[in-house]
Amino acid sequence: MAPSAGPVSGSRSLLSRLREGDEIARIITFLFAASVVLITLLLVYDLWQDSVLPRHKFGFHFFVTSVWDPIFDQFGALPFIYGTLVTAGVSLLLAVPLGLGAAIFLAELAPARVSDTLEFFIDLLAAVPSVIYGLLGVFIVVPLMREYIQPGLKKTLGFLPLFSGPGYGVGFLTAGIVLAIMVIPYIISVSREVLLSVPRDQREAALGLGATRWESTWRVVVPFARTGIMGSIFLALARALGETMAVTMVIGNTPTISASLFSPGYSIAAVIANEFTEATGDLYLQSLIELGLVLFLLTFILNGLARILIIVTSQRGSGVGHA
């Protein structure tokens, strides 16, 4: 794909290329490109190297114990991992139906102009910084949860352990809701692109067989694009797992493992944000860095999967359709 130096510069001697500056330009730009790789490698190496103490001391126990006690130098990450997974899970449960629905509307129903305009707003929404979501979370979502939503859920679904216990406003559910609002734009943008790349004849074939508009969308177009939609969901999940500020501000910052979604909790990113500057002692600091490493690996895997899925569908969409 990249237009390479090709025969034009290849046929000249090294000396003339040096004099004309081509070789110099090549070397200089190469150094910049190489520095990107170098920085990334350094980041991985650094995370690994700076978390050596807890890895040696706790080993695998780090992930399955739940005592987080800086005074006695005991560090177990289970409550943080639990909180991260639960909040991300809740956020996806809310964001996927809403995001997918909106994407279907934008890709299948809305006229191109309307769709592009709405997509413009969705892109702007994706640009809103997380600390702003946190701000609105603290002053709007948390009081709303405490006054209305949590008592309401308790009254109607309180028999479920999920919705039991006192509602403080902050907690897993609140963090999940705020996260959902944050990741919806990602799901919409990517799913819309994927849905738009589904070939026309798929729709026409379904409609020609007598399917209603919805049946053609839901039974033909969406399944055709499902790998790409999965990709958008993984992308959103990676965002949700790594999200720091908004979660820190509404999750309650208490390392608990509780079946109740009302309970205040903690997440990996939040504990790093709150305790990193106060961490006294190498083991404490390195335990936090190991949490960072965990977060890095999780998002690394999810982003990789997402990219593969999105590439696979968009290739299938444009490839099969015109064959």
Binding site: R26, I39, L41, L43, S130, V131, I272
Partner: protein, 283 residues
């Protein structure tokens, strides 16, 4: 029309209108956020906000002048780090490299782009803060700069690749060397796209908070030079929002409004620049 068909038509109409509702909800969040920020913060965005230092704890009034200047310094530094690496790296990818090297660089950039911002903060802390043992503007700018690299690199590359090959061939046929072709033909042809890419990267890091928490840290006073901890708008919003003082909340709203306004304006300008430029393939 039998009952079954009527039912299917009803389901179709109902579900399709539900997707419309979903789209409406998603888009209305943006206006809700904007409206709320204007409602709560609008009256507090005044002369004091831009010119005064934060008032001592317990006193009301004061402003965020130091945070605004701090953010400007951090972003200037980030741009100085992120844009050259992204820009020249992209030129290498689009114009010089073979496919194997390009794959490695792209992969590294995508990986870096996916790293949670808090982890970028840890990295900057280990690399810049630890050796000198204190927080600094330098460390914060470095962290933000790292985040700008992959965004600038990947989109600049795309815009360079979108320049038609005929332009390259024409310049070279006239005897221009490769770097001259790049500097005088290709980059000018793609400059709108590149400008958009840089602006979007800038807007993206302007609101980042997590990587600044333990690099730039915070400061209630002016931060002279580059070696001191500094206040920044996003971190101020965070600390003020979770503090128990009514007056701080008011200022957090104001800071939120200013920050979001800045980011949205940059986004809109960036897209307007692109819309008026050459047509490029959507990605």
């Amino acid at each position: 029309m039998n009952a079954r068909l009527r039912w299917r038509k009803f389901v179709s109409g109902f579900m399709l209108s539900m997707t419309g509702v979903c789209a409406f909800i998603a888009v209305s969040v943006l206006f809700f956020i904007l409206g709320y920020l204007v409602y709560h913060g609008g009256t507090s965005v005044n002369w004091n906000f831009f010119t005064k230092l934060p008032a001592p704890v317990g006193e009301s009034g004061g402003g965020m002048a130091n945070a605004i200047v701090g953010s400007a310094k951090l972003l200037a530094l980030a741009t100085l780090i992120g844009v050259p690496i992204g820009f020249f790296g992209a030129i290498y990818l689009a114009e010089f490299s073979g496919s194997a090297v390009a794959f490695v660089v792209r992969y590294a950039a995508d990986l870096l782009n996916g790293v949670p911002s808090i982890v970028i903060g840890i990295f900057a802390y280990a690399l810049v803060v630890l050796p000198v043992k204190h927080f600094s503007t330098l460390a914060g700018g470095f962290a933000l700069g790292l985040m700008m690299i992959p965004i600038t690199l990947r989109s600049t590359e795309e815009f360079l690749l979108a320049v038609p090959n005929a332009l390259r061939e024409a310049a070279m046929a006239l005897g221009a060397s490769k770097w001259k072709t790049i500097a005088t033909v290709i980059v000018p042809a793609a400059y709108r796209g590149i400008l958009t890419a840089v602006l979007l990267a800038f807007a993206r890091v302007a609101g980042e908070t997590a990587p600044l928490l333990f690099t730039a840290f915070g400061n209630r006073f002016w931060s002279p030079g580059w070696g001191q901890p500094t206040a920044s708008l996003p971190v101020m919003i965070f600390t003020y929002a979770i503090a128990p003082y009514e007056d701080w909340h008011r200022q957090a709203w104001a800071a939120g409004l200013v920050l979001l306004g800045l980011i949205l304006v940059i986004n809109i300008v960036a897209r307007a620049i692109l819309a008026r430029g050459i047509a490029v393939p959507r990605t």
